[in-house]
Structure formats: C-alpha cells, structure tokens
C-alpha cells in the first residue's frame, strides 16, 4: 500500500523524469564534448581551414587538435578552457574578423608546450629543458602548422 502511494506521488514522478532528463543531457554533453574535439569539427570553421590542412600532412596527424591545444589538466580545467576558447572562436567566426596569420596567445603557447612534454618528457629528461621556462615550439615551430604545406593562394574561378 505504502509503495503504491509513493509511486503515485508527484515527487516520485518528478525525480524519475529528472533522472531520465539528466541522463539524456549528460549523454548529449559527453557526445558534444567528444564531437567538438574531433579534428573534422575544428576544420569545419572557415578560419581553421589552412591550419587543418597543414595538420593533415604533418607527422602528428594521428593526434586530434585537442591533444595539443587543451590544457593537460583534470576534466574540469579542460572543460573550462574549452568553453572559454570555444566562445571566443564562435564570436570571431560569426563576426568574421579573424586575421590570416593566426598565432598562439601566451596561454595557448603554454598549453601546447605542456602537451609536448606530456609525451616527450623522456626526450628532455636529462637536458636543461626540464629546469623550467622551456619553450619547445620556439625551435619546433613548423612541426605541425607551418610553411609550404597548405593549399595557399586565391583560386580564380572561370
């Protein structure tokens, strides 16, 4: 009798539907998070086409954009940075005020360097690079994005 009453109560229905909506929302969020980390998604923006093309022919093309461009932190830090960077990208992609030569901000540079070390820590283990302030892309700046491998030029349509 008591269980029947609970099942009928509006609080119970509210809780159940809340859980279901919660699961759906979480699934959508996780899906969107992964989908938006896909290189094809990044490259679908007009401003990102040249760098996407360069990445495709680089020797790091087995890694997606986010492997290098998201901070090497816990998920909360990554989501926070992704949200902030994503809003910034969305504003400028909509306004179309981005330049041709897109460079890294200081923070973005720090993140990329951190991700170099995430994989290549042993490479620099016995070098002064470990003593702090190391900037990998100061020298390896054309490793992924760089010269000569984009589809440059302005095409003339006849």
């Amino acid at each position: 009798m008591q269980i029947e009453n609970v099942k009928k109560s509006s609080i119970f229905k509210f809780l159940i539907s809340g859980i279901v909506i919660g699961i759906i929302l979480a699934a959508v969020a996780v899906g969107a998070y992964h989908q938006s980390g896909d290189a094809r998604f990044c490259g679908s923006c007009h401003s990102m086409k040249p760098v996407h093309q360069q990445w495709k022919t680089s020797n790091h093309h087995q890694y997606t954009c986010t492997e290098c461009h998201l901070p090497d932190t816990h998920i909360i830090g990554q989501v926070a940075y992704k949200t902030q960077a994503g809003i910034n990208d969305l504003i400028h992609e909509t306004a179309r005020d981005y330049p041709v030569a897109i460079g890294l901000s200081d923070r973005a540079r720090q993140i990329v360097n951190g991700n170099c070390v995430r994989c290549h820590a042993s490479t620099i283990a016995s070098t002064p690079m470990t003593q702090g302030g190391a900037d990998c892309i100061k020298c390896h700046r054309y490793l992924v994005h760089g010269r000569g491998n984009d589809q440059g030029g302005i095409k003339i349509e006849k």
Binding site: H46, R96, Y98, P99, V100, A101, L104, I154, I156
Partner: protein
C-alpha cells in the same frame, strides 16, 4: 504570470534567432574562397574598372594614396626633401638634378603626378623617364618599340592616362602576373632567365623587380638598361660600369672633385635578392602584399607599403615573436644602417672638397689625383647604392653594412690620396 510567459518566450525567440545566425554564418554560408574571373579588355588601364570586379584588392590599392610616415621613422610616403635629414646629399649630388629635388617617394597612384611635379624634369628630359611610371607604356612600346626612349618626354605625355595600376602586373584574361617593362626582360635574358617561363613564386618578385631596380640610359638611343651582366651586388655593378658599357662613362661630372660620378636608383630588387629573405625564397609580395582577410574573405593586400604597418600579416606568417619585438628588430637594423650611411655620406662630401682643393694646386700629381677621383667614384657608388635603396638596409642588413663600411674606407682613401697628390694636408 502571463507577462512572465511573454517575456520568457521572447527571450527564447531571441536566443533561437542568435543561434540561427551563428549556425548560418559559421557552417552554412562560409565566405567564398575563390575570385570570379571578369572579362576586362587588354587595353583597359583604369583601376576603377578592374575594381568593380575585384573590390577587396581595389580597396587596398586605394590605400596607396595615403601619405604617412613609416612606423620605423625611415621611408614613409610623405613627400619631403631627403636633404633635410641628410644634408650631405646637397654636396654629393652637386652639379646634377638630385641636388635640386630629391624627395621621399609616394605610392604608385602618384607616379605620374610626381613625374610632372619634380624639378628634375626639364624640357630636355627624354621619354625613357616614364618607362616605370605608367601602364600606358605597354601601348607606347608596342607601337614605337624602343624609339619612344629618345623622344622628348613632353611629346609622350598626351599618350599617358594612368599611373602604375593593375595592368602593369596583371594579365586581365587570366589575372596571372606579368611584367611590362622591356628593360627588365632584356636584362633577365642576358642573365639566362626567361621571364615568360618564371614560376608564380618568382613572378611575385619579378613584377616588383621590373622597376625597383638600378638602371642607366644607353647614351645613343636612351634605352633603359639594367647593369646586371656581372651580378647584382654593388661591386659587380661597379665592375660592369668600369668597362664603360655602350660608351656610358658617367651620369655627371662632379663640379668640385671633377670625378665622373654614377647615380644609383633604388636597387631594391638587387639588394633584397642577395639577402637572407631573398635567398630563402621569400618574395617581395610575401611581405609587401600579404594575405589579409575582410569579413573572412582572403585577399592579397595591394597596399604596397612598409610591412611594418601590418606586422601581423607580413611577419607573423613565419615569425612567431610578437609584433612589438619584430618591429623593434627592424628599427634596430635601420638605426644602425642610418648611422653608417650618414658617416659614409659625410666622409664622401669631405672627400669631394679635398679632391677639389688638391686639383687646384699648381704642381699636383695628376696620376695620384685621378686615383683619388676613381676612389671617390667607387665610394659614392657604394654609399648611394644603400642611400637610394628604399629599405634603410633591411632588405639585406649584412650586405648593407659591408657596403657602407667599404664606402667609408674608400672615402678616407680618396682623401689621403688627394692630399698625397697635392703634397699637402687639406
């Protein structure tokens, strides 16, 4: 309660509209990546007509009308006498037109205006002077060949309607790059380079190099000639001039030193080609006409000016340092060059005076005196090669400082030799 609902649905509606705008602009209607080829006749030189079809390029071309100082303080596009900053110009070019009028150059649209305004042009000026000033050269050369060069400039003026415009560098049928100056094609042919077969990357420098180069007029037919047969460096060209090509032995006789002088003219292409950027395969257009974006659309800037006005677009395509750092590097190079250029120019000015006084000495040693004149001719060629060039040394910093260093030494040698000739110390 009802007004709250209306408010909420209005908010939701606005949010939806914004979302739609974002989705459409970001994903559905991306900016075009191609340019539609327009049918422009081969003889159409009016840039406004071309501009109707290529508006972004035309808008940036119109910026060439801007008259402004350069961010580094050197060059710029304000028409003012160079002798204000470098008074040695008045001594070193004494006896020739550049001591009367030698201004900082303005943008391409002013080419014909400046030719009309300059005090260097007189009724005796020949047609070859308009070679690099107008797209109408194409028709004039087609009908007259090199005969136009000897004609009085005044006779050709009515045939000239436009300054340096789109047609100087573009073939309207394909919009591919082309060169119009026959003197450049001749010079390249003598160096074994067929301009017609040049790659797009090379053409991105050749279209500039066809005019931003050193030249002289052949004495007999006034044909514009580039002194490139022995190479593009200052000593190579000096060796070329030493052989008195086609009877050309001097631009003018300096009234003080009585030396047979050469006048250098903007050897931008030559200096750049031998420098680190040129040797690395960077073209003129890479820095002076970088890719820009306007509402997401990519276009080549046709505002041909100091790259220091758009460091982001020009330098940061390759260099990862920030704009302030890059500008400071260029400024440092240019300050160093300007300092040595001043020392060279002023030492040469003194040498003209000393050689002049030595020449007036009754029992002067003529052999030593002519040696001194040869030395000052060489010294001034080296100084002028850099002073007449438009980058204050940045196009090739190490060669520039080497050339100026040699110039200073040659000027001192000229002074010492003149004193020896006169048996005195002036």
């Amino acid at each position: 309660m009802k007004s709250k609902n209306v408010f909420l649905s209005a908010l939701l509606g606005i949010a939806l509209i914004i979302l739609c705008i974002i989705l459409v602009r970001v994903f559905l209607l991306q900016p075009s990546e191609t340019v539609k080829l327009a049918a422009i006749p081969d003889t159409e030189y009016d840039p406004a007509v071309w501009g109707k079809h290529y508006p972004l390029e035309y808008q940036s071309y119109l910026k060439n009308k801007e008259m402004a100082p350069s961010p580094t303080g050197f060059g710029g596009s304000i028409k003012e006498q160079k002798s204000i900053k470098e008074p040695e110009i008045l001594v070193n070019f004494k006896g020739m037109a550049f001591s009367k009028d030698y201004t900082e150059d303005r943008g391409h649209p002013y080419a014909m205006d400046d030719l009309k305004e300059t005090k260097r042009v007189t009724p005796a000026t020949v047609g070859s002077c308009m070679t690099c000033k107008t797209a109408n050269l194409r028709d004039i050369y087609k009908t007259m060949g090199w005969n136009y060069a000897k004609k009085p400039l005044a006779e050709l003026m009515p045939l000239i309607k436009h300054p340096i415009v789109c047609a100087n560098c573009h073939d309207p049928k394909t919009m591919k790059l082309r060169v119009s100056n026959p003197a450049f094609m001749d010079a390249m042919q003598r160096r074994g380079i067929d301009v017609a077969k040049a790659s797009r990357e090379d053409m991105r420098s050749y279209v500039c190099g066809q005019c931003h180069a050193e030249y002289y007029f052949k004495p007999d037919d006034k044909r514009v000639t580039f002194p490139w047969d022995k190479g593009l460096k200052p000593p190579d060209m000096y060796a070329y001039y030493k052989e008195i090509p086609s009877g050309f032995d001097m631009d003018w006789l300096h009234p003080d030193s009585q030396a047979k002088m050469l006048k250098a003219q903007h050897p931008d292409f030559e200096l750049f080609s031998e420098g680190v950027h040129g040797k690395s395969g960077v073209s003129c257009a890479d820095c002076h006409m970088p890719y820009m974006r306007e509402k997401g659309r990519k276009y080549s800037s046709h505002w041909v000016t100091s790259p220091m006005k758009h460091v982001q677009a020009s330098c940061r395509t390759c260099h990862t340092q920030d704009e302030k750092w890059l500008l400071e590097r260029v400024r440092t190079t240019q300050n160093n060059v300007f300092q040595l250029q001043g020392i060279a120019g002023q030492t040469i000015a003194r040498a003209h005076d000393v050689i002049g006084k030595a020449g007036a000495t009754p029992e002067v040693n003529q052999a030593e005196l002519s040696k001194a004149r040869e030395l000052i001719r060489n010294a001034q060629w080296f100084w002028d090669f850099i002073a007449a060039e438009n980058s204050m040394g940045f196009h090739n910093p190490d060669q520039t400082l080497n050339t100026l260093g040699q110039s200073i030494d040659l000027a001192h040698q000229a002074i010492a030799t003149a004193n020896r000739a006169a048996g005195k110390q002036y």
